[in-house]
Symmetry: C2
Subunit: 365 residues, 2 copies
C-alpha cells in the first residue's frame, strides 16, 4: 500500500492506494468520527461493493443511501435526499458520511457533509478511475445548476481517501477511458515525462495491468496533492487543474448532463484548449497532433458535438468560475508539460478556434 499526504495544516489527510484496501478494516475505522455512519452510493456501485464496506463497519449499525447513477442527478434535490436521510435517522454533528462511488457520488456526498449541521466528517472511497485520480482528492465538492457545471458547492476536505485498485476490475471500458483523460491532463499541465510514460504504457493501462494502473493513479494523485497543498482555494495555481474544463463544462451543460461523461467532455475540451495554445504559438502543430493522437488512441472523443452553435459555446463558457467581471478566461499550455494561469481570451479568437476546429487540423495534417 502507498500512502500520500495532502498537506493542509490541521486539515491534512492521507490518500491510501493499494490492492484490496476495501477489506482493511482499521484503515476505515481510523477515519471515523463518532458512531453514526451513512454510506452514500449509487445503484450501480451498491451491488458490487456496498456489502464489503458495511462489513467493515460491523457493530456500528451503519446506514446506507442509494442514489440514481449519473451526472444528471448531481443536483441540489439529490443533496436534499441525503439531508432527509440524516435527519430522519437523527444523525448528530459528530457523524461520518462515506462516499462510495465515482465523481458524482463524491461531489454530492462531500457537499452534503460540508453543509449538514455546518460540517460533518467524511471519507472518500472512489470506485472509478476518474474519481481515484481526480475528484476524490482536493476537497472540491458541489452540484450542477442547469446554467452551469459545479456552480454550487464548497471547498471541504475529506478525512481520508481510500483507493482500492481492485475496484477498477468492474469498471466499464467507457468509464475507464474517461478516467484516463484526467491522467493525460496531469502529464500535459505538469509533467511531460509522465505524458511520455502514458504514451508508452497506454495499451497496458487499457488492459488494466495492475502495476501500470497503480503508477498512473499514484503519479496523478501526487501531482494533484501538491497543487492543492499549494493553493487549496484556487487563488492561483490550482486553476491549472481546470485545463480543458472550460470547454468541457460547456459541452456537459450544453448537451445535457450525463450525455457525455465528464472525462469525455474534458477530452474534447483539452483538444480545444491545446488548439488555442497552438494558435497562440505556445505549442507546435506537431505537439497539438501528438496530444489529440493520444486521446484518440485511448478511445476518447476529440471532436466537438455539432448540436451546439459557436454562440451557445460562448454563452455557456461565460458562466465559468475562472471568469472575472464577465471576461472568459481559459487555461492554455505554455509548453508540453506546463500549463499557465488562466488568461483572458479575445472573443474573436475564441470564436475562430471553435468554428475552425477540425478544419485546420484535417487540412494541415
Amino acid at each position: 500500500m502507498d500512502t500520500l499526504d495532502v498537506e493542509l495544516g490541521d486539515r491534512s489527510y492521507p490518500i491510501y492506494i493499494g490492492d484490496g484496501l476495501f477489506t482493511q478494516k482499521e484503515l476505515l475505522l481510523d477515519l471515523l468520527a463518532g458512531h453514526q455512519v451513512l454510506v452514500v452510493t449509487n445503484t450501480t456501485v451498491s451491488p458490487l461493493y456496498l456489502d464489503k464496506i458495511l462489513a467493515q463497519l460491523d457493530g456500528l449499525n451503519p446506514r446506507a443511501l442509494e442514489l440514481e447513477d449519473g451526472e444528471q442527478y448531481k443536483t441540489l434535490d439529490t443533496v436534499t435526499r441525503i439531508f432527509d436521510a440524516l435527519l430522519e435517522q437523527r444523525f448528530s454533528r459528530n457523524s461520518t458520511l462515506i462516499a462510495l462511488g465515482g465523481g458524482v457520488i463524491g461531489d454530492i456526498t462531500g457537499f452534503a457533509a460540508a453543509c449538514y449541521q455546518r460540517g460533518v466528517n467524511f471519507i472518500q472511497i472512489p470506485t472509478t478511475l476518474l474519481a481515484q485520480v481526480d475528484s476524490s482528492v482536493g476537497g472540491k465538492t458541489g452540484v450542477n445548476h442547469p446554467l452551469g457545471k459545479n456552480m454550487i458547492g464548497a471547498f471541504y476536505q475529506p478525512k481520508g481517501v481510500i483507493i482500492d485498485i481492485s475496484a477498477l476490475t468492474t469498471l466499464p471500458d467507457r468509464e475507464l477511458k474517461a478516467g484516463i483523460a484526467e491522467v493525460i491532463k496531469y502529464g500535459l499541465i505538469d509533467d511531460s515525462e509522465f505524458f511520455e510514460w502514458i504514451e508508452l504504457n497506454l495499451d497496458n493501462i487499457l488492459k488494466r495491468e495492475r502495476k501500470v494502473l497503480t503508477h498512473a493513479i499514484r503519479r496523478s494523485c501526487e501531482i494533484k496533492a501538491e497543487i492543492v497543498a499549494a493553493d487549496e482555494k484556487e487563488a492561483g495555481i490550482r486553476a491549472i487543474l481546470n485545463f480543458g474544463h472550460t470547454f468541457g463544462h460547456a459541452i456537459e451543460a450544453g448537451c445535457g448532463y450525463g450525455v457525455y461523461l465528464h472525462g469525455e467532455a474534458v477530452s474534447i475540451g483539452m483538444c480545444l484548449a491545446a488548439e488555442l495554445s497552438c494558435r497562440l504559438d505556445y505549442i507546435s502543430l506537431k505537439q497539438l497532433h501528438r496530444i489529440i493522437a493520444l486521446l484518440e488512441r485511448t478511445g476518447l472523443p476529440t471532436t466537438l458535438p455539432e448540436q451546439l452553435s459557436t454562440n451557445e459555446y460562448l454563452k455557456l463558457m461565460a458562466v465559468d468560475k475562472k471568469n472575472i467581471d464577465g471576461e472568459i478566461r481559459v487555461i492554455v499550455l505554455e509548453q508540453m508539460g506546463k500549463a499557465g494561469l488562466p488568461v483572458s481570451i479575445d472573443t474573436v479568437l475564441l470564436k475562430k478556434t471553435i468554428q475552425d476546429y477540425g478544419v485546420i487540423r484535417s487540412n494541415e495534417s
Copy 2:
C-alpha cells in the same frame, strides 16, 4: 461611529455601529469585491431601505432580489432562487452579495454566498435588532429543514457588518422585543453587570432611546465577537451562545416556522433553561424569577406553547446540533452571568422540567 473587530486571522472583519451609516458610501464600497453586486432583501425591508443602499452603489449597475418575509421562507428553495438570479445574470466568483434585512435574510444570503461558485464575498447590513446584536455577526449561515432548525448551512464570515441604528425606527414593536431577548441572553451567559444594566434601562430600550440602544447593541456585539474569535467553529465555548436555543429551536420547528419569532422562542427557551439551571441548583429560585420577570417586562412570551406534548419536545430536541451520539445536551447557567458548556441532561429530569414548568413557579412564587 464605533468600530469593533471580529479577530479571525485573515478572515477578520469590522462591525460598524452608528447612526446614519446607510448613507456613508465609502463604508460599503470598501467592502466590495469586483464590480458585480446583488442586494438580497425582503418585501418588508425593500420599500424602506433598498433605494438608500442602491444609491451608494451608483455606477456599478447593482442588482436586487426581493424575497418573501418570514422564517418559513428560510429554506433551500429560497437559496435556489438566489443561485438562479446569480447565474441568470452571470455573476462571477469575484462578485458581492449584500444581505439587507433581518436574521432570515442574513442567514440565507450568507449561505448562498458560501456556496455560490464555492464562495463569494458578502456583506451584512442588518435592519432588525436581533440581526444587529446576534445573527449578522459570527459567520453562522444556513437554512431550516422541516425536521430541524438551521440544520443545513456553513460557517462563512462576512467581509463586514454595517449596523445603522436608525433602521430601528421602522422596526415593529414585536420585532424589537424579539431582539431584546438576545440582548438579555448576553447578560445571562457572560456579563451579570450588563444584565443589571438591562434591568435598569429596559424602559428606555423599549422607547428606542438612541444612546441606550447603541450601548445595548455595542455591548452585545462585543461579547459575541469575543466568543466567536475564541471558537469560530463551535468546538467549545461558542456553544454558550446557544443558551435557550435548544428549547427555542424545538418550539420553532414544532409550532411551524414563523409562528413564533426566533427571539420569542428563545425567550421561552431561556425560561426553560433557567428553570433547569435552578433544578440543578446552579441558580436560586429568586434568580430564576428575576430572569423570567425581565423577559415578561419586555413583553416577551415566557410560557410553553400548549400544542406540543412533552414527547414532541423531546423528539425535536433530539436533533439539536449540540447533541452527541443521540444524547440531548443543553446549555445551563452555572451562575447569573456565566453559562457552562453543553451538558447531557437526564431524560427524566428533562421531561419533568417541561411537564412541571409553570406549575412549580406559580406554586412557589
